[in-house]
Symmetry: C2
Subunit: 252 residues, 2 copies
């Protein structure tokens, strides 16, 4: 049997890798991502206060105890609205310090794998590191299976058929804008549900899409939860929840 390294290769000294680890199930990591996780000098990742960090959890079968790790803990939770000026200042300061820590590793000649949930260039914290380090250091981005691909797969719901237009909408938008954008969509994915679940449910209902809407929480992870959005009474909503609205385009 072919080894991971034969196809996936090895990390190069002094390089920053933005590694998409996929939606949660370790089997959905790419060969390149897995090979790099096995071979980088340093594993770096973001995590919320008191949590292991989802991306770190995905790779746990591939990282031994002797590996150097950098854990970057977000200064705030998602309880503070992102457009709040205090949040912006604190998180910008945090990203600046994080970039400096990564820079020190790279200058020391070490290869660093910064883990990203899903795909690094799709709503990823990695992007804030990339824009600070991409010009000064060798950076390689490894695309990943997005969280939304994981969610529509587990919901057994093909998302786009024929000429369907897909709209990906953050659940953080205000209700009117959410409703308008949903009403104009053939297929839609609403990301970042968290505490926005009730607002999202009202918007989906107003847009006339409730019959097709599926709630997926932590899709592909061990504790995933999938149900029709209409039946979500009493569900708290988490950051790793999405609403999937499959398209109805051409069946052949």
């Amino acid at each position: 049997m072919i080894s991971l390294e034969d196809i996936g290769g090895r990390a190069v000294a002094g390089t920053l890798y933005g590694i998409g680890v996929g939606p949660g199930d370790t089997r959905y990591m790419t060969l390149r991502a897995a090979a790099l996780v096995c071979s980088v000098d340093v594993i770096a990742f973001f995590a919320k206060k008191g949590r292991q960090g989802n991306a770190r959890k995905v790779v746990s079968a591939l990282v031994g105890a002797e590996r150097r790790e950098l854990r970057f803990e977000y200064p705030l939770t998602d309880e503070v609205p992102a457009d709040h000026s205090e949040y912006r200042e604190q998180i910008a300061g945090f990203y600046k310090e994080t970039a400096a820590a990564l820079e020190a590793e790279l200058k020391g000649g070490r290869s660093v794998g910064l883990l990203a949930e899903g795909d690094p260039f799709f709503y990823g914290s990695f992007m804030h590191m990339w824009r600070r380090l991409d010009e000064a250091f060798p950076v390689e981005v490894v695309p990943g299976v997005t969280g939304m691909s994981g969610c529509w797969t587990r919901a057994n719901a093909p998302i786009t058929w024929g000429d369907d237009i897909l709209t990906v909408i953050p659940g953080t938008l205000d209700e009117e804008r959410l409703t308008q954008r949903l009403a104009a969509s053939d297929a839609a994915v609403i990301m970042k549900i968290g505490r926005n679940l009730e607002k999202v449910r009202r918007a989906v209902e107003s847009a006339g899409l409730s019959d097709r809407a599926i709630y997926v929480e932590r899709g592909t992870m061990a504790d995933e939860l999938i149900m029709p959005l209409r039946e979500c009474d009493g569900v708290a909503g988490t950051y790793f929840a999405m609403v999937i609205i499959p398209g109805q385009g051409r069946r052949l």
Copy 2:
């Protein structure tokens, strides 16, 4: 080093696997996809007349000469518009025959891996097999890195920041609708460029997005081509081309 089979597992008899092989670079296959490609009894794939088939090409390092293969050749090229009734009839007949061929394999107790470019549930031909076979046979869908993730990664262009809305639009739409949808987007991906390239360029220009638009052809494959859309004079456009318009949301 961990073997592919340890994490990716093995195929089960009589099961149909819809295997997303990712955007083109073999390294961007998932561990599950690679392990299944190595272990299914039958490798099945779609291909255009006279071509090897892109999905089959991606897995060539993993499939030996002794494996049973089913090649399904599309009866028509993408030269015929998809809304043409003759096209619809021919392609529906083709999909029906293809499903029957897969059914015969499954009834014979063989495991079948039907390859899909990108992600099987995102504009995939696999979906037309899934809707015919999912109720009668065990079917597992393996999500993949989408072609668009591969393209924005190679263009070194993070696609969505902060609360950006992403619109994914088939280039087959008429110019007015394309322009309208682009003008209302924070970030956009225009798929299925093919012979629609000139129309797409006019729509992007009308929507005022030409400064940000990047043309990516066969992203992550050996012969990829990446350039600003504005410089695409004389480019023929292929089915595996996309236009990427990165968002301008919150930088932190």
